[in-house]
């Protein structure tokens, strides 16, 4: 696949560098002095209570949110106030949303081909072949000509993942990808994400699925009130949290 980080030279290369990032909504300080470095192929799970700024943080990476202070470099391109620059970064970064955000007026196949055809200027036949390949990978090639409204939530989210992959992104952002799903559909989406992680995709995933974090994450980051409170390898993070707030949070989400 295109995403395998098999080249050992790549392994330690920094792909996202966030320095002293600060963001305000009016007077409300949403992100406070965030420093984060992500290496190529790294899989990061970000968790924390609601309102902690975790979604806002990953949405800054593809500029769905602006920030007021600090710097952000994605794959060697610095995020500055410039349309061309922002579009360059967005082409490298795929995103999967909580509410799927498929385009309801287009078929599944058209949803997948839109980016490759209009952004990468691929010929239609080539874009469709690639799209079918990814639909097979997320195991719903038979739904290609249906509309998003006819699919279940789990199927729609898998389509959304495939739509991002069709753009051959170097980084995938997941913003609570399973939070809007019925319990019986969470597994099918997580399976796709696990497979992707195993292929070496660089992933940043905001989720409360701690099983997923234990299984694939290289690093778990805990955020609260706009700060990165603690980050560690999953086994350390879950068995031996260093900070009180992390312990409390873990108790709350693991004990129910």
């Amino acid at each position: 696949m295109h995403h395998s980080a098999s080249n050992p030279m790549d392994k330690n290369q920094e792909i996202i560098t966030i320095c002293d990032l600060n963001k305000w909504y009016g007077d409300f300080h949403v992100l406070k002095n965030i420093n984060l470095t992500v290496r190529k192929g790294e899989r990061i799970v970000i968790c924390g209570p609601s309102g902690s700024g975790k979604s806002t943080l990953i949405r800054c990476i593809n500029r769905l949110e602006e920030f007021q202070k600090g710097s952000l470099v994605v794959d060697g391109v610095e995020m500055i106030e410039d349309v061309k620059n922002i579009e360059t970064i967005r082409r490298e970064v795929g995103m999967v949303f909580q509410h799927f955000n498929l385009f309801p007026h287009l078929t599944i196949l058209e949803n997948l081909c839109l980016g490759p055809i209009w952004v990468h200027k691929k010929p239609k036949a080539e874009a469709e072949a690639t799209a079918m390949q990814y639909l097979e990978r997320v195991q719903i090639p038979d739904q290609a000509n249906k509309y998003p409204g006819q699919l279940s939530g789990g199927q729609q989210q898998r389509v959304a993942i495939a739509r991002s992959l069709c753009m051959h992104p170097k980084i995938m952002l997941f913003d609570e990808p399973t939070s809007a799903l019925d319990p019986e559909m969470i597994k099918e989406v997580l399976d796709v994400m696990i497979e992707l992680a195993e292929e070496g995709m660089t992933m940043l995933c905001v989720t409360h699925e701690m099983g997923f974090a234990k299984k694939v994450a290289d690093r778990v980051i805990f955020m609260d009130v706009g700060e990165i409170v603690e980050q560690n390898a999953p086994n350390q993070f879950f068995t031996n949290p260093q900070v009180d707030r992390t312990q409390k949070f873990l108790q709350q989400i693991l004990n129910h």
Partner: protein, 327 residues
């Protein structure tokens, strides 16, 4: 109560409309029976449909009408990808094809001055030509109104509010009487062209507000999904937002179309011979004195109603086609 009223009125009405109506003949003298004189309508049918357009050249008008029908039918039958490639450009070219054909002088045919254009065909073609231009223009105004750029936003708001706030009759008078005062002396912009421009701007104002409702109904996630794929502003707007706005706004778009179509009859007051004014001319004709107003206006009403009803049916069927959830 209602039944009682109907029972009293209906038999007489049916008798007048059909049973004792005069169907056959050519002149006033053939209308001998008690009922409606449809001979009047029949005798004036060419006038009321084509105005004073020369009889030998009527094929041009018919060709325009046929072309319009063909484009509508084809856009309905073609599948989605062909529709964008064939029907949309044809629609946008249609007003200009009509001008070339009807005027004739640009393509080597006999020139027919716009003074001779008229009748119901003018209502239809003028409405269609205005709608076709106003459809995208209104969307641009609606986008302008939402824009973060102060200049684009204020210009759009002024345009939209002006053309929505001023009565259409006043706009027609401005177009026909006031506008020429601002042109440099000696320039003569055709009256029908001025009217067309007024109709486009008026319609765009209304369409912009219809679209605004649709734009507000698009979930923010659609913009974010398009952004995250790296689509540019116009790609996002045209490929993702516009189709969904049109779909959501379909009932209101149709209502606006019907309104504009009916408003074309107001053109009679500035001396354009659309269907209603040809009917009035016919009523004051010296060979047809004796009050055939009822027949004349009923005919106009039936023709307009049939067309508007047809548009409703078409829109309902488009809505069904656009419904991507239930299909």
């Amino acid at each position: 109560m209602i039944i009682y009223v109907l029972a009293n009125i209906l038999p007489g009405l049916i008798d007048w409309l059909f049973i004792s109506a005069n169907w056959i003949g050519e002149t006033q003298d053939d209308c001998t029976k008690e009922g409606a004189c449809w001979v009047f309508v029949n005798a004036w049918s060419q006038q009321s449909i084509y105005g004073s357009y020369p009889t030998d050249e009527l094929w041009r008008v018919n060709l325009c009408l046929a072309l319009l029908t063909a484009i509508i039918v084809s856009s309905y039958l073609l599948d989605k990808s062909l529709r964008a490639k064939i029907s949309v450009p044809l629609f946008l070219l249609f007003p200009f094809i009509c001008i070339l054909l009807l005027d004739g002088s640009y393509i080597g045919l006999e020139k027919i001055s716009t003074d001779f254009w008229g009748g119901f065909s003018l209502n239809v073609l003028l409405a269609a030509a205005s709608i076709i231009i106003a459809f995208p223009l209104g969307f641009i105004w609606a986008l302008g109104r939402q824009s973060h750029m102060p200049f684009a936003r204020s210009v759009s708001i002024v345009l939209i509010e002006f053309f929505r706030g001023v009565p259409v009759l006043a706009l027609f008078f401005m177009g026909s009487v006031m506008l020429p005062l601002f042109f440099p002396e000696g320039t003569n912009v055709d009256k029908l062209l001025r009217v067309w421009i007024v109709l486009i701007l008026f319609m765009s104002g209304y369409m912009a507000e219809v679209y605004r409702g649709g734009l507000q109904a698009i979930p923010h996630g659609q913009y974010e999904a398009a952004d995250s794929l790296g689509l540019g502003y116009w790609q996002k707007t045209l490929l993702i937002i516009f189709p969904q706005v049109v779909k959501i706004s379909m009932p209101n778009i149709l209502a606006t179309f019907v309104m504009l179509f009916k408003n074309t009859t107001f053109l009679l007051i500035i001396g354009i011979f659309e269907m209603l004014s040809t009917t009035q001319t016919a009523l004051s004709n010296s060979y047809w004195l004796g009050g055939y107003a009822a027949e004349g206006y009923i005919f106009v009403a039936i023709v307009f109603w049939t067309c508007c009803f047809g548009m409703s049916m078409l829109a309902a069927s488009i809505e069904r086609q656009l419904d991507t959830v239930k299909r």
